[in-house]
């Protein structure tokens, strides 16, 4: 079974540019999460999709970040325009929740560097 995949693995952009990150969850997983880890610090929650709906987007830092999940399959996270503080590793995770058991499988992450 294929795991969670993310693309690209690494992106270097200049301040003010736009970047779009993609996440393909494990097939059949309705739950999809985006997280960000900055400078080796804690993993910060960004948002949670259930199928194509945003269940919780309380972690999105500001309106420069836009996440979508087309048809409840893959998801994209767009940063426009990018700022220096957006640098970090963006992880996507998916799960098939059974009640309150939510074992999340993580993708390898996208390392974003804004210069």
């Amino acid at each position: 079974e294929a795991g969670v995949t993310q693309f690209p693995s690494h992106s270097v952009i200049e301040k003010g540019q736009t970047v779009t990150l993609r996440c393909d969850p494990i097939s059949g997983h309705d739950n999809l999460y985006w997280y960000r880890r900055v400078m080796g610090k804690e993993i910060k929650f960004l948002l949670h999709f259930v199928k194509e709906s945003k269940q919780d987007e309380s972690g999105m830092p500001n309106n420069r970040f836009l996440a979508e999940r087309t048809g409840g399959t893959y998801s994209t996270l767009k940063v426009q325009p990018a700022e220096l503080e957006d640098s970090g590793v963006y992880f996507c995770a998916s799960s098939h929740r059974t009640g309150f058991v939510d074992e999340q499988y993580f993708g390898p992450g996208t390392r974003l560097t804004v210069t």
């Binding site: 804690e42 993993i43 269940q55 309150f100 939510d102 993580f106 390898p108 992450g109």
Partner: protein, 110 residues
């Protein structure tokens, strides 16, 4: 909202034991534990559910005290492969809010 972990960092020699604590200010339904090695994705270790559960496999076990809203991860007879950053993740009683803890960096040296 974010659970607080302690200690922030710990260095062990092979064979020593460690305890990592996770404390939340909210009532919890479940606690999840993950380990992340440098440059890799977090890997799921275990889930503990409401009801004061204890779990373990091999030399890694955990407990969950729902009344205190705390969980502890126990690593016994540590191995070099245990090195990494450990995160707890908590799910509240609504089942809608999942947050990772502040993380604990664990380094095992020979």
């Amino acid at each position: 909202q974010q659970p607080v972990q302690s200690p922030q960092a710990v260095i062990l020699r092979e064979g020593e034991d460690a305890v990592i604590n996770c404390s939340s200010s909210k009532a919890l339904y479940s606690v999840h534990w993950y380990r992340q090695k440098h440059g890799e994705a977090p890997i799921f270790l275990m889930i503990l559910l409401k009801g004061g559960e204890q779990k373990g496999h091999d030399k890694i076990s955990a407990s969950f005290n729902e009344k205190k809203q705390q969980s502890s991860l126990y690593l016994t007879a540590s191995q070099l492969s245990y090195s990494g950053t450990y995160f707890c993740g908590t799910l509240d009683l609504t089942g809608n809010q999942f947050y990772f803890g502040t993380g604990t960096s664990l380094t095992v040296i020979p």
